[in-house]
Symmetry: C2
């Protein structure tokens, strides 16, 4: 099953050097989610060959412009391009008001349903669970209410072990039951254990997204043991005081968190416009957590 994230932008408050604001596309078994939607996201989607109308879910972390200002343009373009399918948008309640006000003044009546779900930053909430994945929001600590998100694949059923089953006289119609763990009893009464006829599915993978937060342990329980952690790393650690003042994290702190919560891989982003060269941020994170990568636009990371 495909489970991967593509970076569309990862610059912090002011865009620079052609780097865009935060936006990511999560592909879970070909269901596309957009995570944050900075200005210009619709053009970034085109640049990296994503059809906007394939996006089913949108998750907005908070209402600083660099995380959502591309959303109304995207919603409008979906409308103009004939979208019919529902679009599910998760974000702070004010986002609905912002969208509605702009649709009102442009006198736009969307031709599709925009299903809005207000997130809350006062605790963890399961937002959705479909056949592919579950999404949970949790509070992170920024200047305004802000949520992180954890995306977790659904546990898949085991696969039939063809090598073993082909030699046996088991009707194919029983395979779905066997995959569900139900043993098969043949007409002579012989029992074939489901566990011996199947190969267990891989453990479900998980991805956590922490857009903008001060260094604090408060949200660590929610992101424990995820396979891939995207964490903001706005500054180098030499600016740790500035990071705290602005409710942001340093690259070193991001690495410390990755260690503390036991993730497999760390992706750092939300780079301050003061860093033209991002290598020092990567180097700093790697001193504590070797399996770090930079969230560079256009790159796709398997989870």
């Amino acid at each position: 099953m495909r489970f991967e994230v593509t970076i569309l932008g990862s610059n912090s408050a002011t865009p620079l050097y052609g780097r865009h604001h935060t936006a990511q596309v999560l592909n879970c078994n070909d269901v596309l989610s957009l995570i944050d939607c900075g200005e210009g996201t619709q053009l970034q989607l085109q640049r990296y060959n994503f059809k906007a109308n394939r996006i089913k879910y949108v998750f907005i972390s908070h209402l600083h412009g660099d995380h959502y200002l591309g959303l109304v343009g995207l919603i409008s373009s979906m409308h103009l391009n004939g979208r019919k399918e529902d679009l599910y948008v998760f974000g702070p309640s004010g986002l609905k008001e912002i969208i509605d006000l702009q649709l009102h003044y442009s006198e736009t009546q969307l031709r599709y349903n925009l299903v809005f779900h207000a997130t809350k930053a006062d605790g963890a909430r399961q937002l959705l669970a479909d056949s592919n994945f579950e999404v949970t929001s949790f509070p992170i600590s920024h200047r305004i209410p802000c949520t992180g998100y954890v995306f977790k694949e659904k546990q898949r059923l085991p696969r039939i072990n063809k090598e073993i089953i082909e030699g046996l006289d088991i009707p194919i119609g029983y395979y779905p039951l066997i995959k569900k763990g139900i043993d098969y009893t043949d007409p002579s009464g012989k029992i074939y254990k489901a566990s011996e006829l199947t190969i267990p599915a891989a453990l479900p993978k998980s991805y956590a997204f922490c857009s903008d937060t001060i260094y604090t342990e408060s949200y660590w329980p929610y992101i424990k043991d995820v396979d891939l952690l995207y964490h903001e790393a706005t500054f180098l650690h030499e600016m740790v005081d500035r990071a705290a003042e602005t409710f942001h994290t340093t690259a070193l702190q991001a690495a410390e968190i990755a260690n503390a919560v036991n993730v497999n891989k760390l992706l750092i982003g939300h780079f301050s416009a003061r860093y033209k060269d991002l290598q020092p941020l990567l180097d700093e994170s790697k001193t504590l957590f070797a399996n770090t990568a930079l969230a560079i636009e256009g790159q796709t990371f398997e989870i």
Copy 2:
């Protein structure tokens, strides 16, 4: 005096082929105005080497997203980049509400004054007259209230004719008076006519911007005799019915207007995403009005 316009974007409703939404920078004697501000304008400003904080005036034609969705991001970046100077924004009254709502939710208190002036689409209005230029808004006819703008240089004073005046014994302190048309009388009573001591300044140039409008004569009086006319030309004339339905103009109609109102040069833009190749739009306009150019991103047109 410098009087020129640089195109930052000229695509219509949905961006495509890397073409951006409507935005232009007008430079009048080094005072910068932004005309419309589609999504991504702040990045386009960077791309074409304009410092956003040098922009003094912003003029928004109407509240369709492709003409203003870049404004809140630009306003925020100006704030983050330490702007101190007032920013003057002219646009439909709803724009103020849209800006305020988004600043409210991001808990941003701008460090500079944003001076908002609501435009009205019920007649022509002079919006400003400073030492460099005057700006007038006028109604054009779109699906929602929409204004065009005319930018006209101030009439400059004549220049002193150095060749003539150097041979005469006229104190330099009188030059400013002579430029204002006051004759000089020397101690013997001899009169030197100001008109003979000066070279008339060039006639003031003017630029008209018509963003989105159906073909109608109603606004032609406001754009009569301008030097450069930017006019939308969303479609080829073979789609004239579609143009009318969507309150837009064809390239042929834009050329007809340029002839009718007697402009020197026509700039066409607001290209439909259906046209990857823009040459047919240019060719069509040129059949009626030879001095047409395409409003291509990054190009600067002297007025």
